[in-house]
């Protein structure tokens, strides 16, 4: 079943057809979402009422476009803020973790490594509620002890950021570790030999080597945060990130406005993905 093994024509046809069907299945939902962003109707469904840009640029009711819809724009801003924080935090901690696991031998290293992997196998909702429970225990404890109400420990953006950070860091650690493992440590030794201090050697030799992985992890973390739903759902306060805002609207009934937002999301994330691919190929 590789090209050098003779197979019957009908087998090849059926197999090829199956793969084609698979890709149609992959493309179908996204295509309909994109297409109905241009439907000149209140509903993202048939019949097709004609082509319009209104769901992007429209200013008047009932067809207010994405770029004039306050709620959506604010939610995009919130998501971008959260995603930036999560990406920066998780890549920083991911990098220190990678160095720790790659460069040091210590007791409990194996245990810590397994613990580090755990967030990947904990359902997002459970992560969310455990952080919710702990933060409110803290907040209540502080209130009982000192009568200070710390708003930051109540559901809101800080908890959303921490919740997403708690599992995205694992992914950042894995991505950066994989690259660090390929690093030839004699390069650092050569830098030391040529007069660099240990810290300078890491900054001038190792970090540039890690750069592709760090940028990759940064973008992946940003996208994962932007798209996250489960953990965010449990920790969100009054400022809703985009996915939550869209979910609330979807429950009320959808308009092509949501299609327009979705299409922009697809374009945005494809663009980011493309940047990463180009960057890594360089």
């Amino acid at each position: 079943m590789i090209p050098t093994i003779p197979t019957s024509r009908s087998f090849r046809l059926i197999y090829g057809g199956y793969v084609l069907l698979f890709f149609l299945y992959l493309a179908l939902p996204l295509t309909v979402v994109a297409v109905f962003a241009f439907n000149d109707s209140q509903f993202p469904s048939l019949p097709w009422e004609g082509f319009t840009w209104n769901w992007f640029f429209g200013e008047d009711r009932p067809q207010v476009g994405v770029f004039h819809e306050r709620g959506i724009l604010r939610a995009v801003g919130t998501s971008a803020f959260v995603a930036t924080c999560v990406a920066a935090l998780s890549v920083s901690v991911g990098t220190t973790n990678a160095f720790l696991f790659n460069r040091y031998e210590f007791r409990l290293k194996g245990v810590l490594y397994v613990l580090m992997l755990l967030p990947l196998v904990i359902p997002g909702i459970v992560l969310g509620i455990s952080i919710l429970v702990f933060s409110s225990t803290l907040a209540n404890g502080i209130w009982d002890a000192a009568r200070i109400d710390i708003q930051a420990l109540r559901p809101g953006l800080l908890l959303v950021i921490l919740g997403q950070f708690s599992f995205i860091t694992t992914i950042a650690t894995l991505v950066i570790s994989a690259r660090l493992q390929k690093f030839d440590r004699t390069l650092e030794e050569a830098a030391l030999n040529l007069g660099a201090t240990r810290l300078v050697a890491v900054r001038t030799i190792t970090i540039p080597f890690l750069m592709p992985a760090m940028v990759g992890a940064l973008v992946v973390a940003f996208l994962m945060s932007f798209e996250n739903f489960n953990t965010t759902l449990m920790l969100v306060g009054s400022d809703a990130p985009l996915t939550i805002a869209m979910f609330d609207r979807l429950k009320e009934g959808s308009t092509p406005l949501l299609n327009a937002v979705s299409l922009l999301l697809m374009l945005g994330s494809s663009l980011l993905a493309l940047v990463v691919i180009l960057f890594q190929r360089r």
């Binding site: 197999y15 979402v33 973790n97 739903f229 869209m246």
Partner: protein
Amino acid sequence: MRAHARIGFVLLLTPLVLWLGLLIVIPHIDMAILSLRERISFGVYEPSLMQYEKALTEPLYLRTFWRTAVMSVLATGITLLIAFPVAYYIAKMAKGRLQQVLFLLCLIPFYVSELVRTFGWMILLRETGIVSNLLQWVGLADQPVEMLYNDAAMMVGLVYTSMLFMVVPLVTTLESLDDSVIEAGYDLGGNGLSVLREIIIPHAMPGIVSGCIVVFMLSLGNYLTPTMLGGKDSLWFTEMIYNQFIVRSNWELGAAFGFMLLVLSSVIVWGMLRLTGRTLQETMG
């Protein structure tokens, strides 16, 4: 260890310990404690197993729990069956440029939020949706057909959402299988089926296991797809957790549910690793 190496070690260890301690370990312990108490009156709590008792005796809770588990296993199996031939095609049949393009095509849908993907299926499957219209147009139906809000729709969504996490590990392991090993299988008299059974599948086992674990986890923990595509009477366990926490504000019972979900997923992941003799580090790392 020399002094500055020691400082470096502590500096690197601190973020890891803070992260794992404050965001993973302690919150889960706290959640466990919460699930093990009972509210006597306002502000007065007592340790008790009542939450678990309630969870394990109430038929609705129990049924939802098992339903979620079985459906997740089913979704994992279906995803594997659909993904394997595609992954094999990408890894072993397609060559050069086509291979790269197909692989990228597999990734693209997953750069988009799960919400958007689910929304797409809603547009396709609802009563006024594309599929319904298509069926009427072809003549297979004489009135609008509602295809949303049932288990089949939910399964379509679950499988779709997890596909990437099955395809990628499968492609990676299958690619590492040398063509000449497959050729040797044929050369020594094997046919398609025996080569698949004795050579290809054993080789792909690590990829199958890690793909299945991730897909199972994602299905089990999914909230969006069962809520949006599933029927009113087909609850998902995550929905019950959400309801207890946010709607009913019964955090104790919600925490117990959360713990049950965690135990279920751990047991199944552990069982799968055990069955194939692999460790979590090998499979995830």
